[in-house]
C-alpha cells in the first residue's frame, strides 16, 4: 500500500513515496493464523509463536508509520491554512519588491539637476 509519488527530498525529510504503511496485510495475517485451527499441539505452539511475532510486527509497523509521518514536510497546517500562508508570503514578497523599487528609483539625480 505504498503511495507512489515522484519527488525529490532533502535529508531528514521523507516524501510520501518513501513512506511504507502496510498495516492491513499484517492484521489479516494475524487474524488468519489465530483462526487456523490446528489439531497437533506442536503446530499449535509454532503457530502461536508466529502469531506473537506477527503482533509485534504490527506494533512495529504502526510505530514506524508514526515516526515517518512526523518527518513528512509541509503538513504542519491543513491545506487551507497552507494556501493562506502561501498567499500571505506572495503578498509580502510583492510589497517588499515594490518598496525596493521605490527607494531605488525615487530620486533620479540626472533629471533633477536644477
Amino acid at each position: 500500500m505504498e503511495v507512489a509519488e515522484q519527488n525529490t527530498e532533502t535529508k531528514k525529510r521523507l516524501t510520501v513515496e518513501e513512506l511504507q504503511i502496510e498495516i492491513l496485510p499484517v492484521i489479516y495475517e494475524i487474524i488468519r493464523s489465530i483462526e487456523k485451527d490446528h489439531h497437533e499441539t506442536s503446530a499449535k505452539t509454532r503457530e502461536s509463536q508466529d502469531c506473537a511475532q506477527k503482533v509485534l510486527e504490527l506494533q512495529k509497523r504502526l510505530d514506524q508509520a508514526r515516526v515517518q509521518i512526523r518527518l513528512l514536510p509541509g503538513i504542519e497546517f491543513s491545506k487551507e491554512q497552507q494556501l493562506n500562508n502561501l498567499e500571505a508570503l506572495k503578498t509580502q514578497l510583492r510589497l517588499k519588491q515594490e518598496l525596493l523599487h521605490k527607494y531605488r528609483y525615487m530620486y533620479s539625480f540626472q533629471s533633477h539637476k536644477a
Binding site: 503511495v3 494475524i30 487474524i31 489465530i34 497546517f77 487551507e80 500562508n85 502561501l86 531605488r104
Partner: protein
C-alpha cells in the same frame, strides 16, 4: 483557523484509530466464544478498518500535495530573505550618504562664514607680503639658501656680535668714538663683526635683521646699501609678481 486539524494530526489520529480497531479485532479472535462479537458488529468493524485505511491513503496524497506547496513556499521565503537583505543594504547606504552630506554641508557653511568674515575686513596682499618679508629677513625662520654646514652665520646674535655691541664695548675706552659712531648705527641695526674674523675671510658679509648686508672693511663695517636695497625691492617685486600670479590673493 485553530479549529482546523493539521494534516499531520489527521494522519496520526488515523493511525491510532486503525491500531485500536485492529487490537479489538485480534482480541475478538482470541476471545472465548461467549465474548465474541456478533456477526454484524464484526462486519462493521472490518468495514470501519478498511475505511480508515482508505482515508489514510487519501490523506497521504494530500500530504504529498502539501509537500509540493511547501517547496514553493521555501523558494518564496528565500526570495523574501533576499529582498530583506537588499532593503537593509539600501538603508545602510542611504544613512551613510545622509551622514556624509550633512558633514559636507556643515563644512561648506563654515567656509562660507569664514569667507564672509574675510570679506568684511580685506587686507592688501602687498602689506601681508611686506610683513612676511620683514619677519623672515633675519633668517630666523629659515636658513639662507646658500647656507652650508660650517657657515658661521646664525639666526641669533652670536657671541662675537654681542661683544662688538654696546654692552660689550662699555668697558673699552679706546674704541669709545667707534662706540659712539656705532651707537648711531646700532639704533637702526645691529653692527657686524669686523676684525675678529680670521684672516682667511677678509671680506665678511654679515646678515642683519633688517636685511642689509654689512661688509667688514678693516676695523669698520660698511653698509652695502645699494645692492641690498635693490635686492630687497627685487625680492618684494618678485614676491608681488608671484602673489599676483597665484589665484588665492586679492588684487588691490
Amino acid at each position: 483557523m485553530a479549529s482546523q486539524l493539521s494534516t499531520k494530526e489527521k494522519l496520526l489520529s488515523l493511525i491510532d484509530d486503525i491500531e485500536l480497531i485492529s487490537k479489538e479485532m485480534i482480541e475478538n479472535a482470541i476471545a472465548p466464544k461467549h465474548l465474541k462479537l456478533s456477526c454484524s458488529d464484526y462486519a462493521q468493524r472490518t468495514q470501519l478498518l478498511v475505511a480508515k485505511d482508505t482515508e489514510l491513503k487519501e490523506t497521504l496524497k494530500l500530504a504529498s500535495e502539501q509537500a509540493k506547496i511547501d517547496e514553493k513556499m521555501d523558494i518564496l521565503k528565500a526570495e523574501v530573505d533576499r529582498q530583506d537583505q537588499d532593503i537593509n543594504q539600501l538603508q545602510k547606504q542611504l544613512k551613510e550618504a545622509e551622514q556624509i552630506l550633512s558633514t559636507a554641508i556643515y563644512q561648506a557653511n563654515q567656509k562660507l562664514q569664514s569667507i564672509h568674515r574675510a570679506n568684511k575686513r580685506p587686507v592688501s596682499s602687498e602689506e601681508l607680503i611686506k610683513f612676511a618679508h620683514r619677519i623672515s629677513a633675519s633668517n630666523a625662520v629659515c636658513a639662507p639658501l646658500t647656507w652650508q654646514q660650517g657657515d658661521p652665520r646664525r639666526p641669533y646674535p652670536t657671541d662675537i656680535e654681542m661683544r662688538l655691541g654696546f654692552l660689550g664695548r662699555l668697558s673699552d675706552p679706546i674704541n669709545g668714538h667707534l662706540l659712539q659712531q656705532q651707537n648711531n648705527i646700532s639704533e637702526l641695526h645691529r653692527s657686524g663683526h669686523p676684525g675678529d674674523i680670521p684672516a682667511s675671510q677678509p671680506n665678511q658679509f654679515a646678515w642683519h635683521p633688517s636685511g642689509e648686508i654689512h661688509m667688514s672693511v678693516g676695523q669698520g663695517s660698511v653698509q652695502v646699501d645699494t645692492r641690498n636695497h635693490k635686492q630687497e625691492t627685487e625680492d618684494v617685486e618678485v614676491m608681488s609678481t608671484d602673489s599676483s600670479s597665484s589665484s588665492s590673493s586679492d588684487s588691490q
